[in-house]
Symmetry: C2
Amino acid sequence: MSARPILVDGLQYGRWSPGIFQQMREGGVSAIHATVAYHENFRDCVEHILAWNRRFAEHADLILPGRDAADIERASAEGRTAVFFGSQNPSVIEGDLRLVEALYALGLRFLQLSYNNQSLLCTGWREAEDTGLTLMGREVVREMNRLGMVVDMSHSSERSTLEAIAASQRPIAITHANPRWWRDTARNKSERVLDALAESGGMVGLSLYPAHLKDGSDCTRASFVDMARRLADRIGVAHIGIGSDLCQDQPDEVVRWMRVGRWTFGDPDAMGLGKAAFPAQPAFFRDNRDFPTLRAGLLAGGFSAAEVDQLLGLNWLAFMRASFGAAAQPAIPARSLAAR
Amino acid sequence: MSARPILVDGLQYGRWSPGIFQQMREGGVSAIHATVAYHENFRDCVEHILAWNRRFAEHADLILPGRDAADIERASAEGRTAVFFGSQNPSVIEGDLRLVEALYALGLRFLQLSYNNQSLLCTGWREAEDTGLTLMGREVVREMNRLGMVVDMSHSSERSTLEAIAASQRPIAITHANPRWWRDTARNKSERVLDALAESGGMVGLSLYPAHLKDGSDCTRASFVDMARRLADRIGVAHIGIGSDLCQDQPDEVVRWMRVGRWTFGDPDAMGLGKAAFPAQPAFFRDNRDFPTLRAGLLAGGFSAAEVDQLLGLNWLAFMRASFGAAAQPAIPARSLAAR
């Protein structure tokens, strides 16, 4: 199994089960960034992490905890999947800068500075106005830079994202989004943002969630691959990965939680936030078993085999190798948490 | 003692003790709005409320819990002081709209939509950019309007304050601030804000905290009274009260908590947030025993006796009578929490 290519998915949020982990193995998935919070506070986020720790113990044949980039290579060699934690909302730090380090110790490696709404740190894409980084936002970016936790701006708005790219001393990520010119929604990213991201050494994970796709659930593989090719021509293939945003086996109440959390009593559909129901996945990417289909499409769509390896895994691997852990010793390879 | 005039202070945060409560009696203070949180989360705020509940039991000869406006009259008649709770930061609701009602049940009657920094609801005066009310901010204002919890914009920035005045179905308060034309700091309020506040039926509590005063700790009573007179000439005496912001007997680490909470590891002085030390009170208002001095100054400064009664207590009384509790039955006088 050591011949498996490295394959990394920059964002998933399944209703986790051995069945999904088995599909990951079938799809050849070496690592995923798994969401552990959308609107949760610190304690609730810890609860989700503790549930993962049980899964790691119970399904050690399929998954392992991802802490540094070497875990991706180990998982790939062993036919398992390394799972890296991330929160889509800084609600998990509850306005307490010290909790960044605590969550790093618990395994958190990605943190979005906002979800859809204004956070204490910056602005989400649903808001009418965009502050950019707040006073606390700048403090949190500095602390994340120090620890080696990735700044993720997937759900943040334009100015906030540009300011995060500029303020961060280390490259940042947009783990799951597509170019706005392909599917016009404020949730997707402008050319200005994608250019700045790439120029700073950052990564974008292309999303396979219908709301981010041209033609939604009817999006074709050829259209997706053509978008990837055009984006690669502009910003360079080295800055592109996959962040499928696969929300597998989840009941619709989970979409409701994503949309409204605890910030409103309103109905998300009536409020213009979208129906609280999961859309159908596009036919070419239904679950983790379809990564070979995606690989074949990329190869057919003008990417070389080496480029496809980059896009499906090696770019995320290189990014995570540079991103996790303290930045002061660049010559030292990524270390395990225990050694830190 | 029933002949005491009603005297209400719109904001205090002392290191509470029987000594301070005794001084309130000496100064003839019928009621105060007491801060129970600056950066605290829900649980920590509850802890401060529980400490107050012990004080109410142990010092029932001096203080009583303020829940509706009738408690002010009762306290005045009995020579005691009614204490109304407020939080200077919506950190206490932790992004959970449901906690507004929970805190109302626990006695909270005032809630600032932001402290100095960006909150989940709006922008604080220290930030460079001002979003106005966020999506969640509008939900919280609606919920506070429903319950009868006062929207307090003392530490919020210009646009946020104007939007809160416009969005709130009930008059709002700036419990402790002064006009910016008198002491030029972004913490004080512009004429535009003060005009809009008064036009909407709101209240401003004039602050006696040195950072808000012309000439700081050297501010004279004549200067303060002249400011009050000029403000009354512009917006009407009916919209003006006192919000002394008296922070009595507090150690300097409390100022540090106010300035930086848990959002930065930095030194507030080095960050330009001001020295973490309490300034000396102006000579004419050192503590609660100086309210008679203030009263004499107002009488000498061009206010009629009736106007002084309004400014020192009756305006806050009328505002609280209209503000606390459900708004649906305007003909019914304020009720106790137990009857609601």
